[in-house]
């Protein structure tokens, strides 16, 4: 399928591979077990990583406007099927789950598995989330791009308020065999061009992820979800980074309430001595 848009640019159909990580509820206050061996997971809810929601949403927007296919991929336990079904209910076409456990993964192993999936699926575009909100590593997209020798556009967004940009300006365009994207960086915004196939990582302001509708949730149950293992892809489950210990961050205690601006100024000047 090939379409021409109004400004005459060729917008080709795109096959998109998108990640869908299962993570702890991003708004939950995570606490360590008393023996510090890991986090307390009892009663915790799990969700689709917010940045992956942006990635899936962007994939749908691109496919719906220019045609193509979306494959959602997650590396996780059986439970990760829930997040893949959510991506399917949002609008992805099919899904692949590669069996793996979070505490036996690092960003590099995740990246090496993705490389194999990408080599098998041959997408034009791979969209990751900028970071997983559990490990907060922010590495997988960049690692995959380097392993494949591809270009990358990471932290893609549409920074409202920057010169000439409005919230209507899409942060990512695919045309003429290239991706053009706007990325949030220190000190401003970059507009970058990347040859396809390319790797992109989505920031939260890229789009507003849709909520799946009930009919689409029902439809998603019948969409294909393949189950794979590291062995299927010939990936050795070795880790380059291992978490050997957890600790609680220094606890910050609530201070006092001041009655008014006068008392605040007095405290800041004479007690805290920061003015």
């Amino acid at each position: 399928m090939r379409k021409r848009n109004t400004d005459g640019m060729k917008e080709e159909a795109v096959k998109i591979l998108v990640s869908a990580k299962r993570v702890t509820d991003p708004d939950a206050r995570i606490r360590l077990k008393s023996d510090l061996s890991g986090i307390q997971s009892e009663g915790l809810e799990f969700k689709l990583n917010p940045f992956c929601e942006n990635a899936v949403e962007e994939a749908i927007r691109l496919r719906d406007s220019q045609g193509g296919e979306i494959v959602a991929v997650s590396i996780g336990t059986d439970d990760a099927a829930t997040e893949l079904r959510r991506a399917l209910a949002m609008g992805a076409d099919r899904a692949i789950r590669v069996a793996g456990k979070d505490d036996e993964l690092d960003s590099d192993l995740v990246a090496r598995v993705f490389v194999k999936v990408i080599e098998a699926e041959k997408p034009d575009l791979v969209i990751f989330g900028k970071q997983a909100v559990d490990g907060d590593s922010n590495q997988v997209a960049q690692l995959v791009a380097e392993y494949l020798g591809w270009g990358q556009a990471c932290f893609v967004s549409h920074p409202e308020g920057s010169a000439g940009m409005t919230s209507q300006t899409p942060g990512l365009k695919i045309a003429n065999g290239k991706a053009v994207a706007m990325r949030e960086v220190d000190g401003g915004a970059e507009i970058v061009e990347v040859d396809l196939p390319a790797v992109v990582s989505a920031d939260l302001r890229l789009n507003e992820p849709r909520l799946p509708t009930l009919p689409n949730i029902m439809k998603a149950k019948r969409k294909p979800l393949e189950e794979k293992t590291f062995a299927d892809y010939g990936v050795a489950p070795t880790l380059k980074v291992k978490t050997v210990r957890y600790a609680n961050p220094p606890e910050r205690k609530a201070g006092i309430k001041v009655a008014d601006v006068d008392q605040l100024l007095d405290k800041l000047t004479n007690e805290a001595k920061v003015l």
């Binding site: 702890t24 907060d136 380059k240 800041l268 920061v274």
Partner: protein, 324 residues
Amino acid sequence: MSKILVIADHAGGQLRKGTLGVITFARQLAAKSGGSFDLAVIGQGVGAVAQAVTGYGAGKVYVIDSAELAKYTAQGYAQAVAEVARKAGATVVAACASSFGKDCMPRVAVKLAAGMASEVVGLGNGAGVTYVRPMWAGNVLGEVEITTPVHVVTVRTAEFDSAAPAGGPSPVEAVATTVSAAALKQRLLDFRPTVSARPALTEARVVIAGGRGLKSKDNFKIVYDLADALGAAVGATRAAVDAEFIENDYQIGQTGKIVAPDLYIGAGISGAIQHLAGMKNAKVIVAVNKDEEAPIFTVADYGLVGDLFKVLPELTARLKVRKG
């Protein structure tokens, strides 16, 4: 024994101050492992940056100054960083956890077959080298071990004091690069800077942050007025940025900037964990919120329950009178 290579962060031909935090990290790691550190300055027209980092006791300051690196790309810069790292025989390659470090350093890790630790805030206490880094929006600290011979790290510079010049000048050595801009799969088309006359958010001694409670872009003026009365930087929550009250460059938090100023004043901010992740290491936290139950009060040294539209202008006026 570590041989550490610190990659200087710079913009517009000027050294970014965060680099001095990475130098402090490198000194700590060198002291612990009995090693030493070098510096690398990579880009085009970076002579002044190289000069700015010669007085910190690095064994060497390696410089790649090339027209092929005139415009930043992750692919091109990763290649150049890896070239210097090999030349220096680096066992640890460290950069700021800035947008440069986050974007570029994972690619360096692949080139050097290295494991990478992101946003390092300290070293572990044990005998071996381990790195401490926040996880789950800073609710947890994880201590990680890198099992490969070469380590790549990005350093959360707000957690390290800026290094003072010490240890004498370093010899500068020019290094050639094989990077060819034309061969890269990506290009920088345009950079649109955020223009501000106020101090940089991550470097300021005082930060005034505004949240959704400000209600409009125009109302943010009262935040700017207070910032100007204190010579402070301005910050914001994601909600304020999403509502287009202010540009994304000013977002503080898990997915924005990490700040650790002497004084942080937050107004109209509820104190979501993702925001706290970016500011809870400020020395003194002041919160102004009309809701006395707002979670930000649980971390504030001084909480003022009240209407920010009254409190902030009053504070500004008082400070102006003081200054005379």
